[in-house]
């Protein structure tokens, strides 16, 4: 049996120079947060280790994650990782279709049981026995469970697979569920975002392919290298925030001056992502640099944490457009009225008592 080619062999086959390959290795090492002295290890691994088989599933999703991935700025990523040779199964990019495609999946799952990497894009509907997402006559739930069984590790691409995203927004009619709530006992790496940043996706999957280990994850299961800091902590508008210089409305002078977008509902202070560091589309820009606040796309429930242009989420249970402050002020008014009524009642009922005390005091 032929051993599968290594990533270096693939790259060379596709016409990438040795120099390109080494640059790619340094880029990868930097992205994975390694020291420069460890670049050699990366090179060695990519030269010698056969590529891990990868299957990429598309469930309830919009394909924005795939779109983001193929725009990752490093050419070797798209060429090698996404090349039809490297991905054993992915309905959207694969040359094969229909039966051929499903056969390829079955083959990989059988042949590489316990070894393959499972990438999941999209949430999984669990309502009504999972009928809201079927592929080849089987529900996503069923396919996901079967594939997870023999997977070495699972990557949850994007907010859909990590936390449900828009499909799971209230009232979640299809019972859309993120992967980690359905699969247990397998390492699951979440790469949230709508979509996640291409470079972040690439670095995560290449880390897995290169080292065969799980990158360091945070408490929620996201790679620390990219999700340990808030957009707010690395935002270039931060000095304006600290100086209390805020955009007050979209077309004011402050907006033109590039002040902080906090009062326009920017979710940077509660969003963990690398946007302000890596930028988007090969580092061209990111939402805040383009003048729009962060909408918190990589955070759980971000669709329900609206409206996007209010600083605080609507207060639940009081209908739409009810902020905590509106509810608080109403409660304060009721409290004030209660105290007022009590004062009046006291004057009526206890006035005598106070008068008696006063008379008492005057008596010799």
């Amino acid at each position: 049996m032929l051993t599968p080619p290594t990533i270096w062999e693939h790259a060379a086959l596709l016409g990438h120079s040795r120099r390109d390959f080494l640059k790619f290795c340094s880029w990868l090492a930097a992205a994975a947060g390694l020291e420069s002295s460890q670049v050699g290890q990366v090179v060695h691994a990519l030269e010698t280790k056969p590529r891990i088989p990868v299957v990429w599933f598309h469930f309830q999703e919009c394909t924005c994650c795939s779109e983001s991935f193929i725009r990752s700025s490093h050419p070797i990523v798209s060429d090698v990782i996404l090349d039809k040779l490297s991905l054993d199964y992915t309905q959207t990019l694969q040359a094969a279709a229909g039966k051929q495609c499903e056969d390829a999946l079955q083959q990989t799952m059988k042949k590489y049981k316990g070894e393959y990497l499972m990438l999941v894009e999209g949430s999984i509907p669990t309502g009504d026995d999972g009928v809201y997402c079927c592929i080849n006559g089987r529900t996503a739930l069923d396919i996901c469970r079967e594939a997870a069984e023999g997977a070495k590790a699972i990557v949850a691409w994007g907010s859909c697979a990590s936390n449900g995203c828009i499909q799971a927004a209230k009232p979640n009619p299809t019972g859309a569920t993120p992967v980690h709530k359905l699969i247990t006992g397998k390492p699951i790496i979440k790469v949230p975002g709508c979509p996640p940043i291409g470079e972040v996706m690439a670095a995560t999957v290449v880390h897995l392919l290169t080292f065969g280990t799980i990158p360091k994850l945070d408490r929620v299961g996201r790679p620390l290298a990219f999700y340990s800091r808030r957009v707010h902590d690395t935002c270039y508008r931060r000095p304006n925030y600290d100086a209390g210089l805020f955009v007050e409305s979209w077309d004011d002078d402050n907006a033109r001056k590039g002040y902080c977008l906090y009062k326009m509902g920017c979710r940077g202070p509660s969003t963990y992502n690398a946007c302000a560091v890596t930028g988007w589309n090969g580092g061209t820009s990111f939402p805040i640099r383009s003048g729009h606040g962060c909408i918190g796309c990589s955070e759980e429930n971000f669709w329900d944490n609206g409206p996007f242009y209010n600083r605080l989420t609507n207060f639940p249970g009081f209908g739409i457009e009810q902020t905590a402050d509106k509810v608080g002020l109403a409660a304060a008014a009721v409290t004030a009225a209660g105290i007022g009524a009590h004062v009046a009642l006291t004057a009526a009922r206890k006035g005598g008592v106070i008068g008696e005390q006063e008379r008492d005091a005057k008596e010799p």
Partner: protein, 228 residues
């Protein structure tokens, strides 16, 4: 005129008094700075960002007051176990005397709130209604601390905030934590309004020296009421 015989009773030991006033000041500072963090005032300034830091200062005051608030609560929690009978946990959780506790609570509501009953009730220490409310305030304080330090964890290198980082995933991320932290503020403000009103009410209407008891520690109790 009837003779009134009063006796001085020492109720609030120094840790309770320290806790009380430190907390009262800290809560005022926290609520004021917190609401400012929630909705900063519009400053139309022509200065460059590097020339100002007022919002950073507001946040700094919030975090500094937060530590004070936290350690004051720790002191009070310690005193729940070693304090006198009015300060002990059993004054707030009436183990073994729930029946009387709730009967007396109902009497307090009838007398002080609905004023259906004229002769004033006097309790040495907290009345059951007050004790229950304070127990709730202790819990709410812990909640503000847990949510506050969870929000603070990513901006601080200290280990203490890090201890609360687990709160965030439970509440669906930092956005949810902020919402509930903000909501908690309103509960504190409403409590403070009613609390201060009731303290003044008892002081004015019943002349018990209620207010000064939290300063000097003792108040005067009319003789027959002493054993309630």
């Amino acid at each position: 005129m009837a003779k009134h015989i009063f006796r001085r009773v020492y109720l609030w030991e120094w840790p309770v008094r320290i806790y009380h006033w430190v907390t009262a000041l800290a809560v005022v500072a926290l609520a004021a700075t917190g609401l400012m963090i929630g909705a900063p005032v519009a400053v139309m300034s022509t200065r460059e960002a590097y020339a100002g830091y007022w919002f950073g200062t507001v946040r700094f005051v919030h975090f500094a007051a937060a530590y004070v608030f936290f350690f004051a609560l720790l002191l009070r929690v310690y005193w729940l176990f070693v304090g006198n009978s009015h300060a002990r946990w059993s004054a707030f959780i009436p183990v073994g005397r729930f029946g009387t506790f709730f009967r007396e609570m109902w009497a307090v509501i009838r007398t002080d709130v609905l004023q259906l009953q004229k002769p004033p009730l006097d309790f040495v220490g907290h009345n059951p209604m007050a004790a229950t409310t304070y127990a709730f305030i202790f819990l709410l304080s812990a909640f503000q601390i847990a949510t506050g330090f969870a929000l603070y964890a990513p901006m601080s290198a200290a280990w203490l905030p890090g201890l609360f980082a687990w709160v965030s995933p439970l509440m669906g991320g930092d956005a949810g934590v902020r919402l509930w932290h903000h909501a908690g503020t309103w509960v504190f403000l409403l409590f403070a309004a009613v609390h201060v009103y009731l303290v003044l009410y008892h002081d004015v209407v019943e002349s018990r020296g209620e207010l000064s008891s939290m300063v000097g520690g003792s108040r005067f109790v009319e003789h027959p009421a002493e054993h309630r």
